[in-house]
Subunit: 346 residues, 2 copies
């Protein structure tokens, strides 16, 4: 069985108090930096430091194909997965533009794309297979493949520098796979979990929901057991992203989680090691049906809400400057004493 | 009377369609960049270009003191205004840190601080007086002073380079002044308009509301007439910020508006020239009581909601990278054609 790397809980009360005290002495009204203060405290706890620093942030897009896409549950054809991988690598995708803007190292992880890529800088080959099987007719992957994917996620992070990972995904059909995994893990109905993905119309969305209900029936016996559920309805990119998050947390790296699909992968990871969640920054709340549900399950409150529904780590990249700001404010702002500013009257 | 510079309406339907078409051809699901797409279209309209570019953004903090602060309506003593101006200039304030992070040129405008500053880089002297008068006993300023302040706002922007201004403020007592102006302009009651500012406790907040009700009674005759209302209960930094926004829009600069107080200044500016609002990007929705009200009056929907209540253009600085992203995505993303990515099936 796959051994999950140990993840330390973030429960150092002395450190927490020291971080709170440091922030309270900054030249601003108490608490007036709102969520950025909590974010700074979180980064300090992750790094066990009152002077945390962000080094070599790694933006990772896990890509894979889905057998279930054959059932017409996406607005786009499956070949868009590999075409977008090419686009990421050539610098033309949204996440490519955002990575350049913020000097984030962008790697695309081929977790199981139905295409043979030429080896090239920025592409990490961890292909498990040429896409999953169609979960309407059987498990999406074998248990062995599922474990391989998670372990590959560990390995991807182990080999990269830096103390922050920003995790996203690309894969035609993977909002369906994520919705199915969410249903398996939570027992919630399709209406709560499935949305229009990249933009299905009413008829196609209705068809998608019918397909998902049939898939769910087929895999009832897998239930909420994490490994069985992931193997039954998951995806290689979902399992590998979860593995990457677990490894990153075990190395005390900050984990920035993109949108709906990445959140479902983290919900799965948290079933194996709940402490992983303390290391996570949640980037974005989208309108995708299951997103509010999974965030609620995670106890997570994203920093942005910009009506994005793109995935590919775009929201994780967009939230990056806010994380950077939180750390800079903690380190670089003057205190009331150092700046000789009067404190509050009451 | 003060002549308001002419502001062109942003109603070029052909340009709007061209911008929409350009975005729809990018390699992403239609509409999937959400509010960033609207933002890119807005910047394109402001600059009359399908390839807009952001040059030399100017972060401006308008600072002034308030006679009303004598009534104990702030948690901080008045000398904090000049002490914080020093802190801005020395680089220790939150906005100083954020300006450095994003390479934003930061200028502090002395609109009427009760302190004699030594001339120095980054400080723009437009002092109207050493703070306003106490509006509990008479108008905060004369009509002449009010016009001087607005015209000084024009001049500040005229003399600065770039095509974006980011507008914020600092002044002990100015959440009260802004709440009063909001009450004058909208006729809404104190409960809807006044909040805890930088962090009043229950007793102090109750006292503040009582003071504001008395001030409002005294200036009932000013009503919602913009100049009379601003002179009666406003502040030099509010009037000057409004002038800066009007001038910036007339020069087709993008106007990034900070928090509650800056929003009230823009509501006032819009009473003189409603077209100014098309040039505005709203940075942040705070918990301050009147903020939701003024945003509703403005028809504005801020990009961020991070529980900030700091002012000093901190939210405007924090939202800057999102604006930059929107423009970069418009200009730098590949199209379906250029990247050879398949388009949607349905």
């Amino acid at each position: 069985m796959t051994k999950i790397p140990p993840i330390a809980p973030l429960n150092d009360a002395t450190l927490h108090a020291a971080l709170e005290r440091k922030i309270s002495q900054k030249t601003k009204p108490l608490g007036s930096l709102g969520r950025l203060e909590q974010l700074a405290i979180q980064v300090g706890q992750v790094q066990v430091s009152t002077t945390p620093a962000l080094h070599q942030p790694q933006l990772l897009v896990f890509a894979a194909d889905h057998g279930l896409a054959q059932e017409g549950i996406s607005a786009y054809p499956s070949e868009v997965t590999w075409q977008m991988v090419d686009n990421f690598l050539q610098g033309g995708a949204a996440v490519s533009v955002l990575a350049r803007q913020h000097s984030l190292a962008l790697s695309v992880v081929d977790a199981g794309v139905n295409h043979g890529f030429i080896a090239q800088p920025g592409l990490i080959n961890q292909k498990i297979a040429l896409g999953t099987q169609n979960s309407l007719y059987g498990p999406a992957m074998s248990l062995v493949q599922c474990q391989q994917a998670v372990q590959a996620g560990f390995e991807v992070v182990r080999t990269l520098p830096g103390n922050v990972v920003l995790l996203g995904e690309m894969g035609i059909g993977n909002t369906s796979s994520a919705a199915l995994l969410l249903m398996q893990l939570t027992g919630q109905p399709v209406e709560q979990c499935a949305g229009r993905g990249t933009g299905l119309d009413d008829a196609a969305f209705s068809h998608k929901k019918n397909v998902l209900i049939q898939v769910l029936k087929r895999h009832a016996e897998a239930g909420a057991e994490p490994w069985l559920a992931m193997a039954a309805v998951g995806g290689f990119e979902l399992a590998m992203l979860a593995g990457a998050a677990l490894q990153a947390a075990s190395e005390r790296r900050l984990v920035v989680v993109d949108g709906f699909i990445a959140c479902v992968a983290l919900l799965w990871a948290a079933r194996l090691a709940p402490q992983v969640l303390s290391y996570c920054v949640w980037a974005h709340l989208s309108a995708e049906a299951g997103h509010a549900l999974v965030l609620n399950e995670l106890g997570a409150s994203p920093l942005l809400s910009l009506d994005l529904r793109l995935g590919e780590a775009s929201a994780a990249a967009l939230v990056w400057p806010l994380i950077d700001s939180a750390v800079r404010l903690l380190n670089d702002m003057a205190s009331f004493e150092s700046a000789t500013v009067a404190q509050r009257l009451v």
